[in-house]
């Protein structure tokens, strides 16, 4: 009798053996290559508070004070944590990738090509590489747009980018305090902006915006949004 048709062979060789072999080759070996990379924890990441976070505190003082106090490393760590949680809950990663490939002119569009070391941190557990780009890649977003651009964009993307198909996120905002007031970003709104402004803050940014935002800026205004 052909042993390939026996229950035990199928269970042990095909079921267990081939599965384990594939995991060894396609997951364990890559891990062996990458394991030497230092693991960054949230406290280390948040040690240096970037100017974007100070700017959030200055721009939305009441909301920021209420939810995060002052822009300290502890507050920054909390904001990054809530930011990545919001990013996962809203499945931002289903339409925005987080890696720049060395092909298809992506380094010219987004910035430096991604490398393994920059993903070895607590906020990439689980990793947020993504597999689809409806919107642009985000791993080099730090500083590309101002905080208030992000806030307006989250409130109603089409006010900033008319052809955008991104959902609006009104639940990232507190309603206006009184008549004539404007909605202020709440904890999640501030956190997601802090998180997106953190993405790629460690990498070198291009000097000038490479590409204008088509339709984003009124006619005659300077193109782009880099600081």
């Amino acid at each position: 009798m052909n042993p390939l048709e026996r229950f035990a062979t199928i269970l042990l060789v095909a079921g267990l053996g081939f599965f384990v072999a594939a995991v060894a080759v396609e997951a364990w070996l890559p891990y062996q290559v990458l394991r030497g990379l230092p693991m960054q924890h949230l406290e280390e990441i948040a040690r240096d508070v970037p100017p974007e976070f100070d700017d959030l505190a200055a721009r939305y003082p009441e909301s920021f004070k209420k939810h995060f106090g002052s822009p300290t490393p502890e507050a920054y760590a909390r904001a990054l944590r809530l930011g990545v949680e919001t990013y996962r809950a809203e499945a931002c990663w289903h339409c925005h990738s987080q890696f720049v490939r060395p092909v298809s002119n992506e380094d010219r569009r987004f910035g430096a090509v991604s490398y393994a070391g920059e993903y070895q941190n607590e906020l990439q557990l689980p990793q947020l590489f993504g597999t689809r780009r409806v919107g642009p890649d985000l791993i080099r977003s730090a500083g590309k747009h101002s905080n208030d651009w992000h806030v307006a964009h989250l409130f109603e993307p089409r006010d900033v980018v008319p052809s955008s198909v991104m959902p609006s996120f009104p639940w990232f905002f507190d309603p206006p305090a009184g008549p004539g007031g404007v909605p202020q970003p709440n904890a999640r709104g501030l956190a997601i902006v802090a998180y997106v402004q953190w993405l790629g803050s460690w990498a070198e940014q291009p000097d000038a915006p490479l590409l204008p935002d088509l339709g984003a800026a009124p006619a005659g205004a300077a193109p782009g949004g880099a600081p």
Binding site: L4, A91, H94, F99, S114, Y119, Q127, P167, D213
Partner: protein, 467 residues
């Protein structure tokens, strides 16, 4: 033919739990309807005309996760469990380990689905592609998968037949692979491996879910249902062997191809590409085997709607695999990755292949489960043609959209240019979704009318079936 079927329906010599099979099919079809509506709603976000703007728990991103998860774990898994509960007792001549366990699994599975849906909509999704089930539900899923494995492996072992029939090779392997894959994919990248090494595991999980859970169960069911419907054996046993062992060897090695050109070490990427092309060779053998089984009797595809569904799915499967072997090449990846091309591919696999096989199996079994002939064969034909046309149109549309997007990105057109260029394709995608949905509505009407209005043959009473 109907006489023979209804006669079997009355007796229980084959150990099939008919009410359970029926329950799994109905649960799967309800999940299908929810999943299709979720997908259609999400498609309207791309037209800037979302159905529920500003409602947090119906946010498009969350609804998209409901779409994929409810179709994979609600529609496909439920329908396959129903099919397994029919096929395994019949092939082995033994009942499942425990009927109580079967019913427990049924209700636990629906509970998991409801909890997954509510969890995702409330913002507790896990950021694992195809595994967005909230992390606190995963242990329940694991228990369920182990229970399923034990429940079905028992009759396979107890049958005492030394050379197992082909279908049982696929079932046995899938019942081992699925729990292993689930625990690996949901826990390792979540707690242990960040970044690139985690992505390698995530890639394996995404691919093994298709390749080691859905694919082997699907092929296993076909190796049972096609010979039964055709009343002739599969063409070549040797080719069946090549197909199974080739799949078992090559498929698990494919995973990293979901993250090509990423920071995952290149040797793993090259290995995945080579293995993916290897799968294509294997698939060709299975395809030849099933086509050759039809030899001289291809006219059966005209008369038998179940066979028509199954063979259309097989042809879609071959197209999927040719597409896969092509798109995985690193050169092609530079253009098509991240684009709608991949979305088209996913719809062709998950719906065009496995969905179609499920429709074939349900169309075959429904009259026997409810003990009445189809109310309207014409509606069945409409179901087939609307679904096939809608699916084919959607896939061609999305693949074309992907090429447009990929080249605009490479040529450094402003991002918004790719959105504007995609708009007509996204409109066409939503329209094809409507066509698919309409086909399913007709199917549901027909299922309902068959159960309620078709004249009952006198051999079997509705009461005996419902019991």
């Amino acid at each position: 033919m109907t006489q023979a079927h209804t006669a079997t329906a009355k007796t229980d010599f084959d150990h099939v739990m008919r009410s359970l099979v029926l329950a799994h099919f109905i649960a799967g079809l309800v999940a299908l309807m929810i999943g299709l509506l979720a997908g259609l709603a999400f498609a309207f976000q791309f037209l800037q005309r979302y159905w529920f703007p500003g409602i947090e728990w119906l946010s498009p991103g969350r609804v998209r996760m409901v779409h994929t998860n409810i179709l994979a774990y609600g529609f496909i898994a439920n329908a396959f469990l129903g099919g397994l509960h029919w096929a395994i007792p019949r092939i082995t001549g033994r009942p499942v380990l425990s009927r109580g366990l079967s019913w427990f699994i049924f209700w636990a599975w629906q509970g998991v689905l409801a909890a997954t849906g509510i969890g995702i909509l409330s913002g507790f999704a896990q950021a694992i592609e195809w595994g967005e089930t909230p992390i606190f539900i995963d242990p329940v899923v694991m228990v369920g998968l182990l229970a399923v494995a034990i429940n079905f492996l028992a009759p396979i072992v107890r049958s005492g037949r030394k050379p197992l029939y082909v279908a049982l090779w696929y079932f046995t392997a899938a019942l081992v692979w699925t729990p292993l894959n689930y625990v690996m994919g949901n826990y390792v990248p979540q707690f242990y491996l960040p970044g690139a090494s985690g992505a390698a595991v995530s890639g394996l999980f995404i691919h093994d879910l298709v390749g080691l859970f859905v694919t082997p169960l699907g092929w296993g069911l076909l190796y049972y249902f096609v010979p039964v419907i055709m009343k002739r054996p599969i063409w070549s046993h040797a080719v069946s062997l090549i197909g199974f062992w080739g799949l078992a060897f090559f498929y698990p090695l494919n995973g990293v191809h979901h993250y090509l050109w990423s920071p995952i070490p290149m040797f793993a990427q090259y290995g995945a590409v080579v293995a993916t092309v290897g799968v294509e060779v294997v698939v060709t053998t299975v395809f030849i085997n099933f086509l050759a089984t039809l030899r001289g009797q291809a006219g059966a595809l005209v008369h038998s709607i179940p066979l028509r569904w199954i063979y259309t799915g097989i042809i879609f499967y071959v197209l999927t695999c040719i597409q896969c072997a092509y798109q995985t090449l690193l050169t092609v990846q530079t253009i098509v990755h991240f684009s709608d091309w991949v979305v088209g591919h996913a719809h062709l696999v998950m719906f065009g292949v496995f969905g179609f096989w499920i429709f074939g199996i349900i169309t075959e079994l429904w009259p026997r489960l409810v003990g009445r002939p189809w109310y309207s064969v014409r509606l069945n034909r409409w179901h087939y043609w609307l679904t096939t046309a809608g699916t084919a149109f959607m896939v061609i549309d999305l693949v074309a959209a992907g090429l447009v997007q990929g080249y605009l990105w490479r040529d450094l057109a402003p991002w918004e240019a790719s959105l504007r260029a995609s708009a007509p394709f996204w409109t066409a995608r939503a329209l094809s979704g409507f066509v698919i949905l309409l086909g399913q509505v007709l199917f549901f009407v027909n299922l309902w009318l068959t159960a309620r209005r078709s004249p009952a043959p006198e051999v079997v009473s509705a009461a005996a079936v419902a019991a």
